[in-house]
Symmetry: C2
Subunit: 106 residues, 2 copies
Amino acid sequence: MVAEDFSTKKAVRLFHALSDETRLALLYRLKEGEQCVCELTDAMNAAQSRLSFHLKVLKNAGLVEDRREGRWMYYSLSSQAMEELEDLVDSLKKAAKSDASAGRSC
Amino acid sequence: MVAEDFSTKKAVRLFHALSDETRLALLYRLKEGEQCVCELTDAMNAAQSRLSFHLKVLKNAGLVEDRREGRWMYYSLSSQAMEELEDLVDSLKKAAKSDASAGRSC
DNA sequence: TTTATTAATCAACGGTTTTTGATGGGAGGT
DNA sequence: ACCTCCCATCAAAAACCGTTGATTAATAAA
């Protein structure tokens, strides 16, 4: 547990949030811009409580933000989260390709 | 279901593989270079069957490759997968920020 | 051939996540 | 006040995931 644990928990939450078809679909929809829940349920033909659940997961992961307006709840992508995600992937990507036969082990 | 479904299944598998502490730890170890299962079990103090399971998940997601040598099984990062991952994240990141009040819905 | 070593696979269990349908709460309209 | 609309939350059921310990397979050494 060293540098990689910098924020493993957060990484896990992020990737978990992304590891679901419904949630990815939501994110791709939100790429088009802010939308309210009813627009999303319409477009995706999904039960309201189901989307509510998934939107919550996305929100907890920091991937989306919400904003109330009258009776509507508008969700949008968090561009900040996208940066973080990018950094995360970058840190993974720097694979050394060193030959590395470290030693004596087995 | 359009462009976003380009490979939703694959994306889900990728992100799912990344959404686990043990698997992230494995990947970070493999950044140091190719390693055999016993090295990994030693270093991570984990049961062999447990790592075997997680390595399989990583492999199915295309994140690692394996290579047999005698009785040892060597695992390494797939740099190709890292590219794909990066592309995926990129495609998410291009959030238009368009104001987009599309219309009449609710 | 027998034995030891490395690792994959299996089945059972426990825990967590997701789906569903119902209920409740807040905001507006009448 | 009452009714309607949009949405979050809840509880129960279903589906899924990860861990464990045991077994099996493959390789190599004695």
